[in-house]
Symmetry: C2
DNA sequence: CTGACTAAGTCCGGAATCTGGACCCACCGT
DNA sequence: ACGGTGGGTCCAGATTCCGGACTTAGTCAG
């Protein structure tokens, strides 16, 4: 987890990934929506590409233009973003509900829930025990 | 989500919370296990307490000593930590498997899965659509 | 009573990162 | 020729992080 946070724990990194999920793949678009300094965002996109989370794809030849798309590893960050969003919606919403609501294709408003893959039960910290530890 | 990351997105914040989940509630213990600079960890614990994620509890009167315990809001960060761990286990494990394995009380090795709370289906980014947007 | 140790921090100076704003280049439309 | 767009880079200053030394209060061993 420490290593995971070395990559995605930097400021703006997960916000950039979220923008990619929401369909904003262009640099200027991300700058506008996240409010990140252009410089920082450029650096972050570089580290995300280097980490194999995003892919820099040229979509226009002559004035070389690029888009950032999620790789498989990037798409697997979706659960992280959903759980973060849910926590924020619950504890920081404040002014008239959450700023972004998603709908699941099953027809309901999407609320992300974390379960044990084996038994399907909702996950609680007290129901788990460590098996091995390092450090 | 931006606001959530303002709180838990700082370096070491989530690692401190993880330690609390693992039962290490003391300052020196956290320093040892996370490797964070004492100074930074002290600052981080202060912001987490201020944000209502941890609670600073005195466990010894005379040389005043404190432990950090999770509040309800803190416990609700468990899903975030689990999904981060899972991503790291999958993409960064490298040397002989993940550094920490948890067991769920159902008897299996714990693998966290994120599902739609309404229909129980595993969550995929392509199965969701935004309903409202701000910004 | 001296020295060593623990716990929970604080203090410090230097290093790394983040920030906003200005700038650059290539192209497009008018 | 002029302004706008897209994807950056460059810079100086502010903020944050870092490791190590230090502090305070109390305990334990010899």
């Amino acid at each position: 987890m420490a290593r995971t946070l070395d990559i995605v724990g930097e400021k703006w990194a997960l916000l950039a990934v979220r923008e990619a999920f929401l369909g904003n793949h262009r640099f200027d678009e991300m700058v506008k929506r996240t409010g990140a300094p252009r410089d920082t965002l450029a650096a972050r996109l570089r580290t995300l590409v280097a980490a194999g989370i995003l892919e820099r794809r040229r979509y226009c030849e002559h004035p070389a233009r690029f888009e950032y798309h999620l790789t498989g590893a990037g798409r697997d960050l979706y659960p992280v973003i959903m759980t973060l969003m849910r926590w924020g919606d619950r504890y920081l919403a404040g002014d008239g509900g959450p700023p972004l609501v998603l709908q699941h294709d099953c027809g309901h408003r999407l609320v992300a829930q974390v379960v044990c893959e084996a038994c399907g039960e909702a996950l609680e910290a007290r129901d788990t025990t460590p098996l091995t530890t390092v450090g």
